[in-house]
């Protein structure tokens, strides 16, 4: 399948992948610190393991950004 990831079209042998598997394939070191958008919808982190991406989907992911005084 071909999916667009962070603005670039990428090809995968698999016909579908969970978002969790996709993050592994993209070598994301800390998936727990990443926000993911699939076809314009921001996912809850709990949904990474169950949300499936398929041919033609558009996926964006970036690092959660925050900080604090502690």
């Amino acid at each position: 399948m071909n999916i667009q990831i962070n603005g670039k079209v990428e090809s995968f042998v698999a016909e579908t992948l969970t978002v969790s598997a996709l993050l592994v394939a993209q070598k994301v070191d800390m998936p727990e610190m990443v926000s993911v958008e699939v076809n314009g919808d921001v996912l809850d982190r709990d949904a990474f393991g169950t949300t499936v991406v398929k041919e033609g989907d558009t996926v964006e992911f970036l690092y959660f950004m925050g900080g604090g005084r502690a």
Binding site: N6, V28, V42, E60, G68, R69
Partner: protein, 160 residues
């Protein structure tokens, strides 16, 4: 030495944004160009085991104020929807996100332990605007983590 060049108009807009949000922490992005510019998004450092890119001078050309969804004087979190909108805006213009800025309303422009814990993008420069004194203090850093080792490098800010 890593250098972040910020035009005075952008510098002033960033400090003004921090002041407008007092007593809450304010936050935003600085976007622009580097000679070896690459989009700063998760997973794009897979070919580099240290998660680094060359330390080229970075020139900010755009200030993107963001919403602190924590609405707190002690911590901040970007709105993920705004983050995705920002990265798309910057990508369309052919630039890159260079720096994350946030303000410290009452404390110096130093990284807190929580800042370091939560800063996980090795491509970003982290800019802190302190409003603790009468004259705002602005400092910048890079934070790099490799296994349990955290390396914090000061970034020189040049206001042009």
């Amino acid at each position: 030495m890593v250098i972040l060049q910020i035009p005075s108009a952008i510098y002033d807009a960033m400090v003004a944004h921090a002041k407008q949000n007092m007593p809450l922490e304010a936050c935003g992005y600085l976007a622009g160009e580097t000679p070896s510019s690459t989009p700063s998004q998760a997973g794009e450092n897979g070919d580099d085991p240290k998660g680094m890119r060359p330390l080229d001078p970075a020139v900010a050309t755009v200030f993107i104020p963001m919403t602190n969804i924590d609405k707190s004087p002690e911590h901040f979190t970007f709105d993920p929807k705004e983050q995705f909108a920002a990265i798309k805006q910057v990508r369309q213009s052919g630039e890159s996100l260079l720096a994350v800025y946030h303000s410290h309303p009452e404390t110096p422009a130093r990284l807190s332990a929580e800042d370091v814990r939560l800063f996980n993008d090795p491509n970003m420069i982290y800019v802190i605007v302190s409003l603790a004194a009468a004259i705002p203090e602005v400092k910048a850093y890079r934070v790099r983590k490799h296994e349990d080792v955290v390396n914090i490098v000061r970034v020189d800010i040049v206001v042009s």
